[in-house]
Symmetry: C2
Subunit: 132 residues, 2 copies
């Protein structure tokens, strides 16, 4: 149970240490929209509008801030093609492709176990709709 981070140099990081930068990264990735955006970009580079449609229900403001956050940490690149109307492409970096692996695992787990979850969450004041 090492508290590795708070004390200077180290080569083992710990998401359970509040001062470890891990926390910021976890906060960025452990987020509904980030998980969906990175997953969408696994199919190849996408334009803003395509992501907006794929991430059904996201508002443009939130999509912008999600992508800016991912860009700032080096998970995606943003490429502007000078054209009118504007043409901007977002793509995963190598780092982004790496992060996509555990995130895909999470998305897949949720999809595959939803039925069990709704079953369980059923009895007490149903926090989850049962049918789509």
């Amino acid at each position: 149970m090492a508290m590795n981070c708070p004390s200077g140099r180290h080569d083992r990081h710990d998401v359970y240490a509040s001062l470890c930068p891990c926390r910021e990264v976890l906060d960025l990735l452990a987020n509904k929209w980030s998980a969906l955006a990175i997953g969408a970009l696994e199919d190849g580079p996408q334009r803003f509008g395509a992501l907006r449609r794929r991430l059904d229900g996201i508002s443009p403001k939130v999509l912008t801030s999600t992508l800016r956050g991912l860009e700032a940490m080096g998970f995606v690149t943003r490429t502007v093609f000078p054209a009118v109307p504007p043409h901007v492409e977002y793509a995963l970096t190598d780092l982004g492709r790496g992060a996509a692996v555990p995130l895909s695992g999470l998305r897949r787990w949720v999809e595959q176990h939803l039925d069990e979850i709704t079953e369980v969450a059923d009895a007490p004041s149903a926090a989850v709709r049962r049918t789509c």
Copy 2:
């Protein structure tokens, strides 16, 4: 690219469909504190205070609401032992143990790749502290 959910009965769920209950589940699990709490509970049942200490930096209010959310969806159980001072134990359900797998993957990935991330996020206005 199936939009499986919005139309009644189905046995394939899709986190990319805004109306699929998947979304609520993903929103609950794809969250910093949920990921940490479920990870902490993998070591066995824990009391409120122990979780509070383990999830370094969480406020009691947020810990309560996180645990209540996980309980409502059937990922953790809450057991009250009638005693003074109060004694309450939180534990993973089978479902919670299942969800813990991809979440561990995500936490581990972040810890193992933090150095690359800070390196990349370095050049532009460093959104991430480099040392702990």
